[in-house]
Amino acid sequence: MMCPFKEIDMKRRFFAQWLSATTFGALFFAAMPVLAADEAPDALMDRLTKEALDTIASDKGVQAGDVGRIITLMDEKIMPYVNFQRMTSSAVGPAWRQATPAQRKLLESEFKTLLVRTYAGSMSQAKNLSFNIKPLRAAVGDKEVIVRTVITGRGDPVQLDYRLEKTPGVGAGWKIYNLNVLGVWLVDTYRSQFAQEINARGLDGLIATLTERNKANAAAAAKPAKG
């Protein structure tokens, strides 16, 4: 006579094994998206700021104000986390809809050069900086958030805030699309100027103005290095 308990016992053992395997499997698959899932926006900004400050503190080229070096570093470390197309289109405004792909590309690259060069200039003056990130105020499903940071060095602390958007799709991460320095949103500040230029000389006029300005800035930056 078979012991009924044994059967139950075997069933139970099988069940336990299945359960643990399934649990493991479920955990494993659950873990995959966790690994690939998005770094929270405030964690992302914490990491990027830390990296940037470390670089400023350690990189000889950055300290010497080597704009080329700073631009390379920004392209490498920061730009993957910036939706620069959104920044440009917002600054250009409704005229963006009429722009051809070629015009859009030019606008984006010239605007980027203008901004990066400016920030490169200020970065070389930064020394002994520390920062903290204010607690994130956002609901779980938010697709756009503001991350607020404060940079402290010599003198008054500098408020530096970022608007980030969730890129659609799991694991696509967050991207910066606007930047606030001391209470001033960057994209908003360029909107009127771009609109003025577009009203007066059209999209190509705006592109020409940006290109000229970048050339002048590059020439001015090259001068002290020579002399």
């Binding site: 917002s90 405004g93 051809t100 859009r104 400016t118 608007r163 209470g183 500040t189 009127s192 001015a220």
Partner: protein
């Protein structure tokens, strides 16, 4: 006391005259590029140009010389001295805005810096990590709900708004420098303050020349945003993203 009254009346008259002038000299700016915060744009641009000319001809060269001649610790000391005077006035305005912590900070800063160091020159309070919260009377008016009104560029003083210009008249009374009875001393101190502030801005203004497509518009838009933000201590309530997302595909 009489001296104070004369100054009040004088500066009030000056402001009133300025406003009258502004209204006389301009119609309202109109057209597609008109900015709703800047109805006096043609007048403002005139003053902006005047200020810029004066700056290039006199103030900037003086500030540059000041920066190049005086060693940095001395310049820091001068800046700290004026900051300390400003902290006293910030205390009053933070108190008027019922911001107890900021008012406390300002008062302690002023106290510590005035008592334990050379009239604020060393700025011990910052070493002690007591935060600075600069507030003027325009902030106070804004805090109590008075809207900024039209953007206004003032001769010599630069970007302002109608509200903040009114605030300046009160600020003038709270300015400890205007309590100095000896007029040559007061004037020299005011001039030194101006030069020192300008010298601190040399790098920023060089940057402005680089980044701005139109320095007038850039200054205006940045100033108005910054002012609004600082009235709300970095958290303006209506900070909805005004910039629309443009997502259309490229035109064919």
């Amino acid at each position: 006391m009489k001296d104070v009254m004369t100054t009040v009346v004088k500066s009030a008259l000056l402001r009133a005259g300025l406003m009258g002038l502004a209204l006389l000299m301009t119609g309202c700016a109109s057209g597609p590029a008109a900015n709703r915060h800047d109805p006096l744009e043609p007048f403002n641009r005139g003053v902006f140009q005047f200020n810029d000319g004066l700056d290039r001809a006199v103030i900037k060269p003086v500030a540059t010389a000041y920066r190049d001649v005086l060693p940095s610790p001395i310049r820091t000391g001068v800046g700290n001295f004026f900051n300390n005077l400003q902290d006293a006035w910030s205390f009053v305005n933070n108190a008027l805005q019922l911001k107890a912590e900021y008012a406390g900070n300002s008062l302690v800063r002023f106290g510590v810096n005035s008592v334990f160091d050379l009239a604020g020159v060393l700025d011990i309070a910052t070493e002690m990590q007591i935060e600075r919260h600069t507030k003027d009377f325009g902030h106070t008016l804004g805090y109590w709900g008075i809207s900024p009104g039209p953007y206004l560029v003032l001769p010599l003083l630069g970007p302002s708004t109608l509200r903040d210009t009114a605030g300046l008249v009160v600020d003038q009374q709270g300015n400890l420098l205007s309590g100095v009875a000896h007029i040559p001393t007061r004037n020299s101190a005011t001039a030194l303050k101006l030069v020192d502030r300008r010298a601190q801005l040399l790098q920023a203004s060089a940057m402005l020349d680089q980044v701005a497509l139109d320095p007038y518009t850039f200054t205006r838009d940045a100033f108005l945003q910054r002012r609004q933000s600082s009235i709300y201590d970095g958290n303006p309530p209506d900070e909805a993203d005004e910039v629309p997302v443009i997502t259309d595909n490229p035109a064919p």
